[in-house]
């Protein structure tokens, strides 16, 4: 057949030439229109892709010249468009013609307009900017009295239309629902359906009109509206239960042959309509007995009527079966449906067989016996020459797999897998095998071997969960420890054998799994030295086809094994080899290994045997370095500044506004000064001498936590700073400056705690979200409006005392109490604050401050309080708009339990549980008082809650909380 076409195509040139030879204007026209023919002929004659490319490029440049020439008539333009469509279809870029397509749709007569619209719908996509130029044309055409134009406009709207321009045409299209011509009404319904798809909220108000369309006297319009209902019912079946009756009636009429004969297709009445209705009924009747009862009759009739032996009746039957099994079951119908399925499965027609298997797959969970009835057919289908049938059969088997038949089924699946080359199939099937193997594996050997097959076939296309789950399964094991060990041992042995085979290439993922297992569980072999396996790993490492990611896994395995080996030439050689590797990552690993080897004790503790499931306790705050740091600082060493902090400093000198991410200088309570941005690092400088240096240093060193604060969203840390409410720690009176440091340390400490907690991630998200609020605009002022404690104005000391009889005193003395423990200073916060403030103004300029703080709040509390009722909260009014700071005192009963502050906080957290909140973090404590804080994010604001609890039996008389704005923020 294709030969004939080839021949006719080669015969074409003669014809074209004839056409062209005709003189006059007709000749011009003919020559023009025949260019498409010429093009097609040219392309067909070509043999190589390269030549085709050349020809089309040439054609395109001709077209480009033509379409942009002013002399080109619209008629010629129309021809050009057809050729452009052709070129685009072949995959060549004809974007220069897009604008002309739109022009043609705007200006042409009907025919030209039609080509223009067609070209637009083929060339452009929904978000193309040129589409906006089309909106006016569409509006104009929708208002046209010419039906063809209206139809064209509706067609283009349903194909592509910019979402944001829907309001421009929506009323016009709504009007069309009342149009006298049914074809217009029908297209209008589908255009609205399109709008429902891309912008559901914009057509919500016309749902009532959809109902009208459903009741339209024209069957076509009604059928079109079913598309919408199918969609909407799928999304929310319960909202349309009342329509069940209507659908049933319609279906009854259709099935009963009440429609005009026009709608018959091979003497089946409106089959597509029936299919659609059956699907809708299936959705409506699902798990709903009352609704289902309405449709039993009509389903029965449909099953009965669909007996003609034609393709399309089977289509209806299939839908019937599907619906019968979807809705609330009725045994009589199920029986009939089961019989139908039998018809499908046993049919010699392969399409029907396919659908029969599909139906079986669908019903198998409800009725496993059906599979038994057809088991022989199913077995036959397993060896069917059509791979699609085979796959459908496997899908069916997958549903009926249990511990007994697993081995057979998986074997069949693997067989299929080995024949298949399509990635999609491999990914799909490999996932299923792995799932089944994990669920039903009969024994260790089988499991490991199956997984080996999965890894080697699935290779690098399979879902990453598969190897991950596998390794987790090995590591975590089951209940029985000896069983687990055997499984692991078997895995190790099997991998050793696999690696013995020469010249076999395993997928990277498989190698990674192997190296992990060997590294973790080689010890189970009880060999004296892992020399043998090291040799193998070494060989792999030297293999050029192994990816660098896999090499990292390999060398990790080597490292683990080295800790068990006393000495190994191979490891030495490996180290030599890779310490000079060009791959920096490998080089680093090699160096690590080298150094670890020099300290066997360390190595053993670092790489314990069979501890992969146990969490490592990492002191993220590096607190063990505190002593060292303190000592160094006391000898005058400069405190550590993280890299970005240094950079910030640099930046801050250039900018007027400080955007330091770090909460470091938050506390600045002391410094009212308009300090130049440079002044910010003051805290860290000074802190050197303070008793807190150690701590502070810790924070400084804790790079990890800090880095995390720099999210993609920008200045995460800033937020951290805010939320990690600052506290002023006045107790250590060494130098007024200390305050700064203290603040920093506190913040950092906060951070440490937060970070080390497992909720770290969540915390980060919370942080990120609230950060955004603040960072939206450059000034923090926004934040203030939201009752955030963060404000640059903190420092103004006007005190608002709001003591309320509430429950928790949200006094914020974390700092003071914290420091009080470290230095037994008296709590003279007020004094300190004052001094700090006074001095701050002057001193800030001199001191180079940490890059730090955008905004800081420092809260001071005087814990020399005896009675909680006297709690004082002070803050500058500007800080909290609408006085949103409140102190609560716990009720008597709770007060008793307050000794344990967490319980209180917990109760509070409970109250606020519907909002996002951070964990309760203890900020500081001494023997009498402890302060903790947490944050609650609400829709429009951030609450900071500080709770102070009195651990001693003594009564607190008063507590002062002072919140003062720091002005650092405004540079």
């Amino acid at each position: 057949m294709s030969d004939i076409v080839e021949k006719t195509l080669t015969a074409l040139p003669g014809l074209f030439l004839q056409n062209q030879s005709v003189g006059g204007p007709a000749g011009v026209k003919a020559s023009f229109s025949s260019r498409l023919g010429g093009l097609v002929r040219g392309i067909t004659a070509l043999t190589s892709k390269h030549e085709e490319e050349k020809l089309i490029q040439q054609e395109l440049s001709n077209l480009k010249a033509t379409v942009s020439a002013p002399a080109t008539t619209l008629k010629m333009m129309k021809e050009c468009m057809v050729r452009l469509i052709y070129c685009e279809m072949l995959g060549y870029d004809a974007s220069f013609g897009y604008i002309h397509a739109i022009k043609l749709a705007q200006q042409g007569n009907l025919l030209e307009k039609r080509v223009g619209y067609l070209a637009v719908s083929l060339f452009l996509h929904e978000n193309h900017e040129l589409l906006l130029l089309l909106v006016n044309t569409v509006v104009k055409d929708l208002q046209s009295t010419n039906l063809v134009e209206v139809c064209m406009a509706l067609t283009i709207v349903s194909q592509i239309f910019p979402r944001e321009m829907i309001p421009a045409v929506l009323p016009l299209i709504e009007d069309k629902l009342q149009h006298s011509k049914e074809i217009i009404r029908r297209k209008a319904v589908l255009a609205l359906y399109k709008f429902h798809l891309i912008a559901p909220n914009q057509v919500q108000h016309i749902h009532i009109k959809f109902r009208k369309a459903l009741c339209d006297r024209d069957v076509g319009v009604m059928a079109a509206s079913l598309h919408i209902y199918f969609r909407m019912i799928k999304e929310n079946p319960s909202a349309y239960k009342d329509l069940t009756g209507s659908f049933v009636t319609i279906l009854k009429q259709v099935v009963g042959g009440k429609l005009p004969v026009d709608f018959n297709y091979h003497s089946v009445p409106a089959p597509w309509l029936q299919i659609q209705l059956l699907r809708i009924l299936g959705l409506l009747g699902k798990d709903d007995q009352r609704t289902s009862e309405l449709m039993y009759d009509v389903l029965d009739e449909s099953l009965r009527r669909a007996e003609l032996n034609h393709n399309v009746t089977y289509a209806i039957l299939f839908e019937c079966v599907h619906t019968v099994y979807s809705i609330y079951p009725k045994s009589e119908l199920l029986e009939k449906a089961a019989k139908c399925i039998g018809k499908f499965v046993l049919s010699p027609k392969i399409n029907l067989k396919y659908l029969g298997l599909k139906a079986l797959t669908y019903v198998i969970q409800q009725d496993p016996t059906l599979a038994l009835q057809h088991q022989m057919t199913i077995i036959e289908c397993l060896d069917h020459p059509d791979p699609i049938i085979k796959r459908e059969t496997l899908e069916l088997l997958y549903r009926i797999t249990n511990a007994q038949n697993i081995t057979v089924i998986v074997q069949k699946m693997l067989e299929y897998l080995h024949q298949s080359k399509e990635e999609y199939i491999i990914v799909n099937l490999v996932g299923k095998i792995a799932e089944l193997a994990e669920k039903y594996a009969p024994d260790n050997a089988w499991f490991i071997q199956t997984m080996n097959a999965v890894f080697s076939v699935g290779g690098d296309v399979m879902h990453p969960d598969i190897p991950n789950n596998f390794m987790r399964l090995l590591a975590e094991g089951f209940d029985d420890e000896t069983e687990d060990q055997q499984l692991r041992l078997y895995a190790v042995q099997s991998y050793l054998t696999l690696l013995d085979v020469e010249n076999v290439f395993y997928p990277q993922k498989f190698l990674q799994v192997m190296s992990w297992v060997l590294g973790e569980y080689y010890y189970l072999l009880d060999k004296d030295t892992p020399e043998e396996v090291l040799t193998k790993l070494y060989k792999l490492l030297m293999n050029a086809s192994v990816s660098s990611e896999t090499k990292a896994w390999l060398i990790a395995a080597v490292t683990k094994l080295t800790s068990q080996a006393h000495s190994s030439n191979i490891v030495e050689r490996l180290i030599q080899e890779f310490t000079i590797s060009l791959d920096t990552c490998m080089r680093q690993h090699a160096f690590e290994l080298k150094h670890l080897r020099e300290n066997v004790e360390l190595m053993k503790s670092l790489l314990p045997v069979d501890k992969s499931c146990e969490d490592m306790v990492v002191d993220a705050s590096l607190s063990f370095l505190d002593g060292f740091v303190a000592e160094e600082l006391s000898q005058g060493a400069a405190p550590y500044k993280p890299h970005h902090q240094r950079q910030e400093e640099k930046l801050s000198q250039e900018k007027v506004l400080n955007f330091e991410p770090y909460g470091l200088s938050f506390s600045s309570s002391g410094f009212t000064g308009r300090q130049s941005p440079a002044g910010i690092s003051l805290g860290s400088d000074i802190s050197g001498n303070s008793a807190e240096t150690g701590l502070k240093e810790t924070n400084g060193l804790k790079l990890e936590g800090i880095k995390k604060l720099w999210g993609k969203e920008g200045y995460l840390p800033k937020k951290e700073g805010k939320t990690g409410d600052e506290t002023e720690a006045p107790p250590v009176p060494q130098e007024s400056i200390i305050m700064e440091t203290v603040d920093q340390t506190l913040i950092k400490k906060d951070q440490c705690q937060v970070l080390t907690q497992s909720k770290e991630e969540k915390e980060k998200q919370l942080l990120a979200s609230s950060l955004f609020v603040g960072l939206g605009s450059e000034s923090t002022v926004n934040l203030l409006g939201k009752a955030d404690t963060v404000s640059h104005k903190f420092r103004r000391k006007s005190k608002i005392k709001e003591t309320k009889s509430g429950e928790t005193t949200s006094a914020h003395n974390r700092t003071c109490s914290y420091f009080s423990s470290s230095s037994n200073a008296t709590y003279e916060d007020g004094y300190y604050l004052d001094t700090l403030q006074d001095r701050g103004d002057k001193e800030l300029n001199k001191l180079s401050l940490n890059s730090g703080l955008l905004d800081s709040e420092s809260l001071t509390e005087l814990p020399s309080v005896e009675k909680l009722s006297n709690c004082k909260l002070s803050s500058s009014p500007s800080l909290f708009t609408d006085n949103s700071m409140e102190g609560f005192q716990p009720s008597q009963s709770t007060a008793l339990s307050v000794a344990n502050e967490t319980s209180l906080a917990a109760s509070l957290l409970e109250e606020t549980s519907e909002h996002m909140h951070s964990d309760l973090v203890e900020v500081c404590h001494n023997e009498t008082i402890s302060l903790s804080s947490f944050k609650i994010w609400k829709d429009d604001c951030l609450f900071m809650v500080w709770s102070v609890s009195n651990k001693s039996g003594l009564e607190l008389e008063s507590a002062d909380l002072e919140i003062a704005p720091a002005e650092n923020f405004k540079g």
């Binding site: 023919g37 709608f263 297709y265 799909n428």
Partner: protein, 173 residues
């Protein structure tokens, strides 16, 4: 809904491609290639359904195709369409083409790509089946063609056409 309608010949040359979902130009070409690759290696005696490759969008989608003489007609649809229903829709489409072009063949599709698109637009609109009644479609097309009558014929191909349809085939499918 219908995601895409593709027609290509036995050599994989596209003759018509219509996408009802936005794909980039490159993806469209890739889909055509991949679909051809999948469909062309199927024997004659196998079912007309294929589960979609990765490109056309995962397990929910399938390809339903028919092979007529030199051309493959492929519909990519999602799970809300009935397989057999679409199979007959292709038949309706081809029969309609046959009516409009009088013994349609590949050449008609090449030289009247715009007309074929117009016919298709009467059947499928925005990915939804609009009309399945052949006579109705032909009436619509005729009405539009009347406009064209005033114009001289674009190009008559007076060649012996090879019929795409083999009647006996679709009667007993």
């Amino acid at each position: 809904m219908i995601k895409a309608i593709l027609i290509f010949n036995n050599h994989g040359k596209p003759r018509l491609s219509k996408f009802y979902q936005p794909y980039s130009e490159d993806t469209q070409q890739q889909i055509i290639r991949e679909t051809f690759h999948l469909v062309s290696k199927r024997d004659e005696n196998v079912c007309n359904f294929l589960e979609g490759g990765l490109l056309i969008g995962g397990s929910d989608n399938k390809l339903i195709y028919r092979h007529y003489a030199t051309l493959y007609f492929v519909f990519c649809v999602d799970s809300s369409e009935s397989e057999l229903g679409i199979l007959d829709l292709i038949q309706v489409f081809v029969e309609t083409l046959d009516k409009c072009f009088e013994n349609v063949c590949e050449l008609d599709l090449i030289f009247h790509v715009d007309k074929v698109h117009n016919i298709l637009a009467e059947m499928v609109m925005g990915g939804m089946v609009l009309e399945t009644n052949m006579n109705e479609i032909v009436t619509q097309i005729d009405a539009q063609n009347k406009l064209e009558k005033s114009e001289p014929p674009v190009m008559e191909v007076h060649l012996q056409k090879s019929t795409l349809l083999e009647r006996k085939r679709f009667l007993h499918l």
